[in-house]
């Protein structure tokens, strides 16, 4: 028994952490750590990167009073160099494991983002599950403008809103990298800081990437068109479609299907069938059947225009950021090999046959 206990007691010396040779991880107190939540990356002045990190509001003290976020900024030739500099600038041990929001500056996005995304794929602390946003202007300015309250809460609300259909499409670093690996284009949501006395982040649309570089911005109706193409119900309401009435509609469900139309072995067009379900959320008096039919047609026309506008813009940039080629392949797997080979060349010229089918639901019974 004694013989068995000796090695056990000897091994306990290792747990003391005495000396550099103990082999155990470094001891860290939670209170001495800066748990980062948001990372902003901009193009640096000398062609390098400017990285700004934020902890979000921190709970401190007996009453858990919230302290303003800790903001640290550093420049470097690469993301790892800037991150090391940040560690040197902080009084606390900087931990990147909780970074779940990545803000990319507009200029950096034009220059290319693959280096940043690859770092997210390889780094031990950072995760591909982080939400990625492109910000108008610089990420540094965005984080500075929201210095008091931090952007974390607002970004989290946007992310949740996206999941429940109350905001635009949110995207993760993994989705972005996956799109770039499988195709040649992708898109990201774009944010802008609006300062009406208190800084707030608002969605302005989407930025389109061809390869790793930003090639265009989709705003307003074009952004809604991309949402429809992605089977995502656009946030916001539709109003004033019928003359002399103030009916308000809210789109709840969207399902868009894609079918390639072949003549022989040649792809001649793509049929896009978009089914929209909208709820009549506000109305002054009951609509007649004729009015409802007219409203339905107006919604269909409106959504068709949105889709066509978005497709024209994407074709202009030759950027299939909605993975249309692969979606066509799913519907027609027999032609997938042909499509995979030719889609890049065809996308910019192919004609689209857009069909929108709207269903309007109202609170006073079935239509």
């Amino acid at each position: 028994m004694k013989k068995r206990l000796i090695p056990l007691f000897m091994s306990l010396f290792l747990l003391t952490g005495c000396g550099d040779g103990s082999g155990l991880p470094f001891a860290r107190e939670m209170g001495d750590m800066a748990l980062l939540r948001t990372m902003g990356v901009d193009r640096g002045e000398d062609g390098g990167l400017l990285v700004t990190v934020s902890t979000g509001r921190r709970a401190r003290g007996l009453q858990q009073e919230a302290e303003p976020p800790l903001l640290i900024s550093a420049a470097g030739g690469s993301l790892s160099e800037a991150c090391l500099t940040i560690q040197g600038q902080s009084d606390n041990y900087v931990f990147y494991g909780y970074v779940d929001q990545l803000l990319l500056g507009e200029e950096l996005a034009k220059q290319g983002v693959e280096q940043i995304l690859n770092y997210y794929a390889r780094d031990l602390e950072l995760s591909l599950g982080a939400q990625v946003w492109v910000v108008r202007g610089t990420a540094r300015a965005t984080l500075d403008a929201n210095q008091e309250e931090g952007v974390e809460g607002q970004l989290s609300v946007l992310q949740t809103g996206s999941e429940i259909g109350a905001a635009g499409i949110a995207r993760t670093a993994g989705e972005l990298l996956s799109d770039l690996e499988e195709g040649s284009a992708t898109f990201l949501p774009m944010l802008q800081t609006v300062d009406d006395g208190e800084a707030a982040l608002v969605e302005t649309g989407y930025v389109v990437f061809r390869g790793e570089k930003l090639v265009g911005v989709l705003e307003g109706e074009l952004a809604k068109g991309v949402e429809l193409l992605m089977s995502h119900a656009p946030a916001g309401v539709i109003q004033g479609e019928l003359p002399a009435r103030q009916d308000i509609l809210q789109e709840r469900q969207v399902h868009t299907a894609y079918h390639p139309v072949f003549q022989g072995d040649e792809l001649v067009s793509v049929e896009i069938r978009c089914q929209v379900t909208a709820d009549l959320t506000e109305f002054s008096d009951k609509l007649s059947n004729e009015q409802l039919e007219l409203l339905r047609q107006k919604v269909e026309q409106r959504e068709e225009t949105r889709i066509r506008m978005a497709l024209t813009a994407l074709q202009g940039w030759d950027a299939d950021c909605i993975s249309l080629g692969r979606k066509l392949g799913i519907n027609d797997p027999a032609h997938w090999n042909w499509l995979e080979e030719h889609w890049e060349d065809l996308f910019a010229q192919i004609s689209f046959d857009v069909i929108v089918e709207a269903t309007i639901r109202c609170t006073y019974g079935a239509i």
Partner: protein, 359 residues
């Protein structure tokens, strides 16, 4: 008197041991071959594994022992010993490789803060402790470990499943079938670690209906591994999976439950040590059983320690960086696995069957 485990414990040891290489290798080794159809390979490997197991059980029962006893009775003492020695050398090399990979994963889970030698020593010590105890105790411990591993695996796959994107998995058409069939080979290489469980067949208390149970375990195990690959590929897409070092653990990094936990990969990496300990324990027990059968004078416990020391030294000396063991396990060791874990046992079983029929 022979120490014996139940057939349920045997199956738990086999699949708990396979979970560690499977999480590291799948779908990283199948995607370069079959792209988005990589998950099909393991389903095609399942009948081969089931057949190999059935044949080995059959000849083992007649030889009243495990793979070592079958090799000795089928190939004679000289060739039989040579074959067992080959498995012992391969086993020690795999011990070194698995110890290094396990230590690397623990180091990554601690964000590179620890020392590699320390983790290798700890893992080796734990493996030795597990292999020196009684076999039934090892079997019972493994059943508990296996339960925990299954719960964690279900949690990871279940939380990541809603993020699967159809366009990462489809389209699949007849052109994709040949690559999918070819990906059965690396899948078999991954399952080949299981051949060391065949050394314990002689120490297992088999019952009526265990043949069916073997088929069920194989089918369910392979379906679970196919599902895991399906979710990994569906989340990242085949292109990104090829770029990632450990896709399954990267997937674990991407999941979280808002308001409950944000990051779980360190916990998952730590839980996966259970599988590493089982595979290391299995390898040590297989080496020890093989040595005892081929060289009856070799003491069982001493053999375990004698196998572990060179393996631990090799783990530190042969693999100074993290890239070498990973590329070895993804490349040459898979093919060695297919030959020694699939081809050679099948040949031994065929010879044993032939000899038994002649008698």
């Amino acid at each position: 008197m022979k120490q014996q485990i139940s057939s349920q414990q045997f199956f738990a040891i086999l699949w708990a041991a396979l979970m560690s290489p499977a999480a590291e290798l799948l779908p990283a080794v199948t995607v370069p071959v079959a792209g988005r159809g990589a998950w099909i390979g393991i389903l095609l490997a399942a009948p081969v594994m089931a057949l190999l197991g059935a044949v080995l059980f059959r000849v083992s029962r007649k030889a009243q022992g495990g793979l070592a006893e079958v090799a000795m009775s089928a190939l004679g003492s000289i060739l039989g010993r040579a074959v067992i020695l080959l498995y012992i050398v391969w086993g020690i090399f795999l011990l070194a490789l698995r110890m290094r990979l396990c230590a690397q994963r623990l180091m990554d889970a601690g964000y590179q803060d620890s020392a590699m030698w320390f983790l290798v020593v700890i893992v080796a010590g734990m493996a030795l402790w597990m292999s020196l105890g009684k076999l039934p105790a090892f079997g019972r411990t493994t059943q508990v470990f296996f339960g925990v591993l299954v719960i964690v695996a279900v949690l990871v796959v279940g939380l990541a499943a809603p993020q699967v994107r159809t366009e990462n998995l489809l389209p699949l058409w007849k052109e994709d079938m040949m690559p999918a069939i070819r990906s059965a080979l690396p899948s078999l290489g991954c399952l080949s670690y299981g051949v060391f469980a065949a050394f314990l067949v002689g120490n297992t208390c088999w019952e009526e209906g265990d043949g069916k149970r073997w088929l069920w375990w194989t089918a369910l195990g392979c379906i679970a591994l196919a599902l895991m690959q399906l979710v990994v590929i569906g989340n990242f897409g085949p292109g990104l999976v090829e770029k990632l070092d450990k896709p399954f653990f990267d997937l674990a990094k991407s999941i979280g439950v808002k308001g409950a936990f944000q990051r779980v990969e360190s916990v998952i990496a730590a839980v996966w040590t259970f599988s590493d300990l089982v595979i290391l324990g299995l390898l040590l027990r297989a080496v020890s059983t093989g040595a005892r059968t081929a060289f009856p004078k070799a003491g069982g416990r001493a053999v375990s320690a004698m196998a572990l020391v060179p393996a631990a030294v090799c783990a530190l000396a042969l693999f100074p960086d993290g890239i070498t063991p990973q590329s070895l396990s993804r490349g040459p060791m898979l093919w060695v696995g297919v030959m020694l874990g699939g081809g050679l046992p099948l040949l031994i079983a065929a010879i044993a069957e032939f000899r038994q029929k002649r008698k």
